[in-house]
Symmetry: C3
Amino acid sequence: MEFTAQQIAEMLGGFVVGDPQATVNDVSKIEEGRPKTLTFFANPKYEHYVYSTEASIVIVNADFNPSQPVKATMIKVANAYESLAKLLALYQQMQPQKVGIEQPSFISQSATVGKDVYVGAFAYIGEKAKVADNAKIYPQAYIGDGVTIGEGTIIYPGAKIYKGCKIGNRCIIHAGAVIGADGFGFAPNKEGVYQKIEQVGIAVIEDDVEIGANTCIDRSTMGATRVEHGTKIDDLVMIAHNVIVGHDTVIASQSGIAGSTKIGNNCVMGGQVGVAGHIEIADRTTIAAQSGIQGSVRKSGQTLFGSPAFDYMGFTRSFVVFRHLPELKRQIDLLMQERNQK
Amino acid sequence: MEFTAQQIAEMLGGFVVGDPQATVNDVSKIEEGRPKTLTFFANPKYEHYVYSTEASIVIVNADFNPSQPVKATMIKVANAYESLAKLLALYQQMQPQKVGIEQPSFISQSATVGKDVYVGAFAYIGEKAKVADNAKIYPQAYIGDGVTIGEGTIIYPGAKIYKGCKIGNRCIIHAGAVIGADGFGFAPNKEGVYQKIEQVGIAVIEDDVEIGANTCIDRSTMGATRVEHGTKIDDLVMIAHNVIVGHDTVIASQSGIAGSTKIGNNCVMGGQVGVAGHIEIADRTTIAAQSGIQGSVRKSGQTLFGSPAFDYMGFTRSFVVFRHLPELKRQIDLLMQERNQK
Amino acid sequence: MEFTAQQIAEMLGGFVVGDPQATVNDVSKIEEGRPKTLTFFANPKYEHYVYSTEASIVIVNADFNPSQPVKATMIKVANAYESLAKLLALYQQMQPQKVGIEQPSFISQSATVGKDVYVGAFAYIGEKAKVADNAKIYPQAYIGDGVTIGEGTIIYPGAKIYKGCKIGNRCIIHAGAVIGADGFGFAPNKEGVYQKIEQVGIAVIEDDVEIGANTCIDRSTMGATRVEHGTKIDDLVMIAHNVIVGHDTVIASQSGIAGSTKIGNNCVMGGQVGVAGHIEIADRTTIAAQSGIQGSVRKSGQTLFGSPAFDYMGFTRSFVVFRHLPELKRQIDLLMQERNQK
């Protein structure tokens, strides 16, 4: 399917600079732009590619003023990134959608499966589980006994939902994610041998949550581990038992939240962040990658950095001095030597 | 099923403070306590919830003296956490247990499967594999050729055990865990191209070990990677080839042990810890979260912190000064300036 | 099958010191050597085991001069580690190989499957997918629609390849690895609610790449996330969307590369390394374990350390001073006190 720059500009409410009849049938990264593809430019780091790309159409912000000639046709829009998102969503909607029950799959007699659902081969749906309308359960996914899967939710291949857990509407659970495995609870006896604390709670994933590949969200000891609506979690993240993650929070890959901690709303965590157990993180907290949070963060809106973490600017200033510590030490040694010689 | 405070107190050897006829039919977290549920209080951080909880019964330590009125019926016991563990274990035992062979599953003709075993649909049991009595192999689990699974061991959905590995009795292997994948062994040739070192060993998991979801324990180059009895490993942990983890050791989520390292007995590692290869960690070593251990730890019973790690108190004291480095630098600059002006 | 020291020495082009008729039928680690096994010695840390091992044959470097009597028969070779690799490869080739189609498996009618392929039970091969000759698709693996799998490539149990991704020849993808899950792309609207950016690209794994268990390599927003030929990636690694990893690079366990970053050729990363997004790492860069790379590395051949990372020696020198910061602070306090009293 082909589109002209003119057609795309109309879809996006933008205006064309260049040939309105330029046509595209695919999308590309700006640094790999090929003829007949559409690309976009938003991050200033990539400006030089605007002038060299072979892509036929580039979506740009309305306030972009090229400093060199641009060969491609430009479509100027209020927000290039948002416009791209809109186009990609249209592109995705045009892809064929999976529907129907493939064989062999395993659906317990007591399970309930809604309308227009996809159940892939080798998927397992346990006793009294409920899969709502328009949900997609990909091959080899495991939906344990009593699990509920909301409307339009996608469970990708091999994701595992342990018994009793609840997944909301319009969620996306990627391949290999494990929801509801036992929390890590053990009590040592007098001989130092660990006794298991049975984990009889569940995990609850609210609406519009996306969970990345191979991420683990453990079930609660009692009650529920909970990820609130609209939160997005990347691959290989660990959410321990009894944790509450607030709504519209973003957690990047390989971060881990220890048990019973409460993460606020609208927080942002970089990759490989660690958060200690039994603490609270205020709303709108931003945590830089690889940071470690040891204690509660009570004031909202802060940015933290370091392991252990403190305020971003403070850590950065201390780290600048850290790099020059050998020189500082030489100066102190000199001063001490002179003092001691007096 | 309902129980009265009196009945529960008798089970636990505790005594009732309040209404002995208070009844419960479920458990809850203290901060989410609902009527007719039982909860517990052990961590002093949560004391204020004792006074406000809606739970009908709270298990508390015998030495707890409330500073305000408690609405709930209390059951006083020697150790509230242990008593809770005991109750949760009873609760768990009352749950229905999976047993029998679901279809379609794949059991090789040369495999041996014991009595009262559960084999879920889409589980795979390879040639000459042995599954002992009372084991549970959940759906989509993979038991490779020649693998042995001990008595009463649970392999949760989608866990994968590569060929030849041995899993002891009463182990729990959570969903998505991979036991026995190839160790990471490559030798560069003169052109810098890596040649694979075949990994012909196995992985051995001894009795009473629990392994978290999506954790990886690689097979040995030769001989065996080994996790000794009673050790508990959380989700997303990496145990590399040739590693030995001692008995009754606890490793929290996202920690990684590099190749050929020996971890002692009764050690405790926080989350996201890294341990270098080819070293030894003494018994009863405690390693704080996010720490990195570069060299052998020969003295047992130490607590380590930092990346690279040293003794916990030492790191903490250095880190306090780190936070004030910019101020220290200003003082040194001043002293040096005055010195140079003399 | 048994071999004599003489036979093995001929295979390796080495020479025998000791009994040329010593026989072995298995391999062992040097510290666990048993009679009738072959082992090797290359790392000087293990020299004391050469004198105590019960193994019948030890492969050693030609320049090894024992300082004590060696009971085992030695085979001296130019490079003991390479010779071991050669023997292990022979050992591996003698193992029985899986071939044929097990039932039940799911192969779409429009899929193409080559000659001498293994497809395990419960494996899924989607529409228009292509599996080349001699490939092995283990049980419960998922090959999405339109995926291509190259010649001789092994996909271990439960690995998942999302639609459209391309896997080269002679690759090894370990259990639970996920190739092509959605990149982590979201744009917040004015209310702070995240809108998904559809990820319409793919992931491309070139020839001779090995990918560890439960590692995640996300698909690109547009175009392709790419791992170039000969690169080896350990378990639980995260490669985000749009990343390019150069050829013959090695990435140890639990490392993560954020979106759109380009890693050079012949790089080496230790475990738990983090690399920020939208940067470039020059060829032959070495990054120590747990380090965090915040900015581009333009000069090739450097070794980096720390979080944030800088040059290895610089970090090490600063860290030495860090350990003694409390003492430095006392000295500065003293100097300042004396200055202020003047």
